[in-house]
Symmetry: C2
Subunit: 740 residues, 2 copies
């Protein structure tokens, strides 16, 4: 080596540092143990959140912190305008989404009223608009239709004909929806209180986008019946989406023309004006409230043209004025809806927090995940008593709330007031509104979600694993519906993390001359292997899922240049002599090991090496050597003689810097590596062990007399320098030249 | 710095290396892309396994490879003795375990006969003894009793009394067990053919040990009825174990004394002789075949003392002599047993391969996971036609096979011959054997599994996560039975891997003076932070489950010494002036950033920092600054003035060497970090990026004009040297002294 001197000097410095650091390892063990366990994290979180009574109150009820300091003059105008715009959006959306949830439209209005007020008190995001949302509505709808199908409410009329008891059905559906909402709210509050907001991280971005896209398809299909004015059968369970589409196609000849016309007209108007809103976003002070205009217009036209009586267009029907007294949910339903409630809780929160975080990042304030969970949970739990169904924040309304100058949740209060006035005074005016118009409002609001289909080509180019997550989520949600689909998607998305640990890249590292960099010899042509030393690294952490692969890959990577064949059969015909040789080699452990046991190239067809790790067992096993093809072994010897690599491997450095924690299986695998290679006289060193890993190994009794702690090195370079120094001392003993 | 000169020289070398290496990165992209995908792995595996026809045949039918070379003289004695010992064990165990599977004893004998012969042909392990095993037997038993309960076979006798049609019941149970066995075998063969042997790695050691311990409890409880001679009700579903125990306790007063006496006597004899076998293992040439002796003795005593007729002791009953013709399984049952069959397939393989690998390692031969899967699958699939039920390898028999000198599977053939003789000629002699005796044989063979309870204190000391896996597996298997318990356990064990990625240790690294080592400043006291440069590392890979935590931790770790508070409010009362300052600072990006936005220490109670990343948005957001307590800010200023750390952070190095692959969420998080810190004038560098990660980032369009590729450094030290060099050039512009 050209700069052996400086290298040696450096080595001395390193050794000192290393030794001191090692002492530190012992001295600072107390410090090292402070990697927080789950319990400690919880404690720490609790400790942090319980500093003083005032802080507690302010943390749990954020409105007390910001409202007294509300800068009235600066914010009120923006909040008023924004509140009015959002309130105007709430009216048609609330009614339309209630239809989606198979509930009476007035429930959608309630859901746009109470939860917003609750969120005003407990929420930490200033810009999101809480209320009805398509995905959650369809989830609620699937439950209400499952537990209260039309078929259960056919009664014999007084004149003997069968009829649908709509009042009883709607009343029971309301009961189901409210119970579901309260239960989902309770789940959210509980998760928030135990600070489990992190569970939402399992809903990764591709998953949420695939899921919402699939939900949009479900929403679409569920609205087709209003568009065409047909009444398909109700299907449940897997593949119900497919069955519904087939049924609607069959019913197409029965399409009611008046409703189709109403739908197409309002759809055309909505799309055109929405496009105008989009194009002239910067020029318009407020977006045109086209949804409200269409609703009002359609109601007037229906009323004056007699669409309801003459053409039998299906309309919204009675909208009761005034508010209802709160009512407790039906707890007997809880056991039937627990799974759905959990799905609603998780999805609702996931949508809300992702919007909240986006706005928080944009406007520079902190949105507290756990407080958000509690806030949304309270919206649902309290709302459920007041005949609201599950809410979350809606992208379209939130964007309007932000873009029209809304600064705080005061805008939300303003929007509630508008909804309240509607419910109290003018709601009953909408009784003649055709349901088909509400459906078209749902349709046009799905545009954003269908745009997410563009994720597929994008993800194809950028990340195929995430594309797979997207597609699996989409397909499973389409086929298995919203609850089971979500479960399957989360399971799959978690499995991708596991699969990734099972496909690590194992590499042999080489030194970049003149530096202490050690890089993959296959990726960097500068990196040169150090003769006699193999540096082995896995690109992923080692755990029980891949420890066996680690062992196999190590054997595979190390063996080719370290030709192992049966000297015992060829050279030492005499068994006892061979045993003597082996024992001898074991005594001079630093010598090179050239021959240990036998390859059986023909047995497995892959040139697999048979590893007779235990030299003391070799006599019992050498019987099996007679199996093998004697010519193959001779060839191996020739190959070995001709190969440049005449120096064997005497040391292996395992770069375990990638490993962040070790489990029992990993510790046993490493122990086996140390024992097995040790038995054939190859020294193993561990480099780059993280502090926490060393500690876990200590607890697992990894270190012993045969695996002393001084085999640990802070970096690969330290280990290499140590081996080279050690080698210099024993160089005279070596029969071959190992130095280049 | 003392050795600035040498450091600079080193730097130049490094830069050159780095640049060349970077060129390599571009040049060798083709090489880098060769991290195998799943598809490629499969192809590679297939390619490897299809080299030549001869090799294929030898790989799939290993017996052709080793039997022609069988060293007759050397091995035959050992194999004969070992085969006889194992065959003698097969007889009582086969009958006892068949009872456990709720089948007639002769089926256990069949299962000890055919599968052994099949394994002889296809197996790669030389020492395992394939056949009946307690855990698998009880799994089969739970299915047979579920699908063919006693209650279905009560018939009205000719004299009007109800009676149990035992013949019909046993015949149907045999049908069920054989169908289950064939289906499990098909699963195993399929998994083996597509080379999915790796799935068994999900059954980590703590899981398998917890599961087998819980199975042993199930076995115990199921045998209690024979021990006491009572007939408890049959329970299914969760908690059935508990219900059965309660029912047996209730029935204790009805204990049949003759059977209890038989049980206790044989149990005592078995335990004592087993202990003697254990103590004198080294002195005895063969272990005493006490099980066979007890069986023979009990049969003779029962016959001559008339236990069956006088004391009504329940006996084995008719054992048909001779072999039956093969029969196809009932495929209509497949849909009912698919889940159980999969569980049997996985558990059977897991037990077999772990034993096989252990012996392989001990004796130095390779056991091929996938071929083993095929071999066990064929044992089951073929055996199922011949009225065998599911088999795996048994620890007790395999140990005897190895310790009595068995060298190859020829021993298995010898043992089959012994079983065959019994089935053909002397089986019918055992008709008077009391079932209670067979139960005691099952009991004593569970000793090894109950010893596994000692894992609990061991794991408590060594690895608490693995202890949790053990306990969750045990409890869920006890409470939810063997199929659901296994599913829950595997799910939990996989989740622990995910949880571990969610509890990384985030640390700030410091330089060890005189070296290029960068270590955690909290763990190593030598490590000193470089002024103005923060080096941030996560101990685990970054993926969607923890990318948000990564961002939060980065903000938290970087902020304390980099005091961010509202200059805008305190010093620049004039908003425009402030804006000017901010813009000015943005222009001189290399200057230090001392003040950006406001802390709101009282709002959250945790001193959280509000990150107003976008300087151009600060005017719109500074309204909210009025919320905050002015005194707190003044305090912050004082603190800052008094702190030693007057130099701000101008650069952050993210050491991402721990990250083995990036998903979309991670890329977005990193993009956000670059954008947000870039906006406040802090430069971000990535160090230690693995090749595959760089490639994934490229595909995800991570690099752009704002994030050029030259922000990537091979190591932290390179990044530091680069920053220091850059800093030297702009040092004159800096208002504060950043060099120590």
């Amino acid at each position: 080596m050209e700069d052996a001197d400086s290298s040696h000097q450096e080595y001395i410095i390193r050794r000192e540092v290393l030794d001191e650091s090692r002492l530190d390892v012992v001295a600072q063990k107390g410090k090292w143990t402070h990697k927080p366990t789950v319990g400690e994290r919880m404690k720490e979180m609790l400790r942090c959140s319980v500093p003083r009574l005032k802080d507690i109150v302010l943390t749990w009820i954020p409105v007390l912190a910001w409202l007294p300091k509300y800068p009235f003059r600066e914010n009120i105008i923006g909040d008023l305008i924004s509140g009015c715009s959002v309130g105007i959006m709430h009216l048609p959306q609330g009614m339309a989404y209630a239809l989606l949830a198979s509930l009476r439209p007035v429930l959608g209005l309630y859901s746009s009223l109470y939860p917003v007020l609750v969120y005003f008190i407990f929420g930490t995001s200033r810009h999101i608009s809480v209320g009805t949302f398509a995905v959650i509505s369809i989830m609620v709808g699937s439950v209400t239709e499952k537990l209260a199908p039309d078929s259960s409410f056919y009664v014999n009329g007084t004149n003997g004909t069968e009829g649908l008891d709509i009042t009883a059905r709607d009343s029971y559906r309301t009961q189901v929806a409210c119970s579901l909402t309260v239960l989902a709210g309770i789940f959210q509050i509980l998760l928030g209180v135990v600070r489990f907001g992190f569970v939402v991280t399992y809903l990764s971005e591709p998953l949420v986008r695939g899921y919402t896209t699939a939900s949009a398809c479900h929403v679409c299909v569920s609205q087709l019946k209003y568009l065409f004015g047909v009444t398909p059968d109700r299907f449940t369970g897997p593949l119900s989406l497919i069955y519904t589409i087939v049924d609607i196609c069959k019913l197409l000849p029965q399409t009611r023309v008046p409703e189709l016309v109403v739908s197409l007209v309002s759809l055309t108007i909505l799309i055109i004006v929405k496009e105008i809103n989009g194009c002239y976003r910067r020029k318009l002070p407020l977006p045109i409230p086209i949804e409200l205009i269409v609703v009002v217009g359609a109601t007037i036209i229906t009323y004056f043209c007699g669409l309801r009586s003459e053409y039998l267009v299906d309309v919204v029907g009675e909208i009761p004025s005034g508010l209802k007294v709160p009512r407790a949910p039906d707890t007997t339903l809880f056991s039937k809806i627990i799974g759905d409630a959990f799905a609603v809780a998780i999805v609702g929160y996931a949508i809300s927090i992702s919007l909240g975080k986006t706005f928080g990042l944009k406007h520079g304030y902190k949105v507290d995940s756990n407080q958000e969970l509690v806030a949304i949970g309270l919206c649902n739990a309290i709302g459920g008593f007041f005949r609201c169904y599950a809410v979350t924040s809606s992208l379209s309304r939130s964007l309007v709330q932000e873009s029209t100058g809304g600064k705080t949740q005061v805008a939300g209060v303003v929007s509630s007031v508008i909804v309240l006035i509607t419910v109290l005074k003018i709601g009953s005016l909408f009784e003649d509104l055709p349901k088909a118009v509400l459906s078209t409002i749902v349709f046009v609001n799905l545009k954003g979600m269908f745009k997410q289909f563009m994720d597929v080509p994008l993800l194809w180019r950028t990340n195929k694993v995430d594309l797979l997550v997207w597609l699996v989520t989409f397909v499973s949600t389409i086929l298995l519906n919203l609850d089971m689909g979500l479960a399957v998607s989360i399971g799959f998305s978690i499995l991708t993390v596991i699969f990734k640990t099972q496909l690590p890249r194992y590499s042999i590292l080489g030194n970049v001359p003149g530096t202490d960099l050690y890089l993959d010899i296959e990726a960097y042509k500068e990196a040169k292997e150090i003769p006699g030393i193999k540096i082995f690294r896995s690109s992923a952490t080692i755990n029980f899922t891949n420890s066996e692969m680690y062992l196999e890959s190590l054997q595979e990577k190390v063996s080719p240049s370290w030709f192992i064949f049966s000297f015992s059969d060829l050279i030492c015909a005499d068994k006892e002599k061979c045993m003597f040789k082996l024992n001898n080699r074991k005594n001079s452990q630093n010598g090179m090991v050239l021959s240990v046991t036998s390859t059986v190239p023909n047995l497995s067809g892959k040139g697999h090496v048979n590893w007779a790790y235990h030299a003391d067992r070799i006599t019992s096993d050498s019987d099996s050597d007679t199996y093998e093809d004697i010519t193959a072994v001779s060839q191996s010897v020739e190959e070995w003689k001709n190969s440049n690599c005449r120096s064997g491997t005497h040391s292996i450095i395992l770069d375990v810097s990638m490993t962040s924690s070790v489990d029992t299986v990993t510790v046993n695998t490493l122990k086996n590596i140390f024992r097995d290679f040790g038995d054939v006289g190859v020294a193993i060193y561990l480099a780059g062990c993280q502090g926490c890993v060393v500690e876990q190994m200590e607890r697992a009794n990894f270190f012993s007399e045969s695996i002393p702690k001084n085999l640990l090195f802070v970096s690969v370079h330290d280990a290499v320098l140590h081996i080279l120094e050690k080698q210099e001392k024993v160089e005279i003993d070596l029969p071959y030249d190992t130095q280049m």
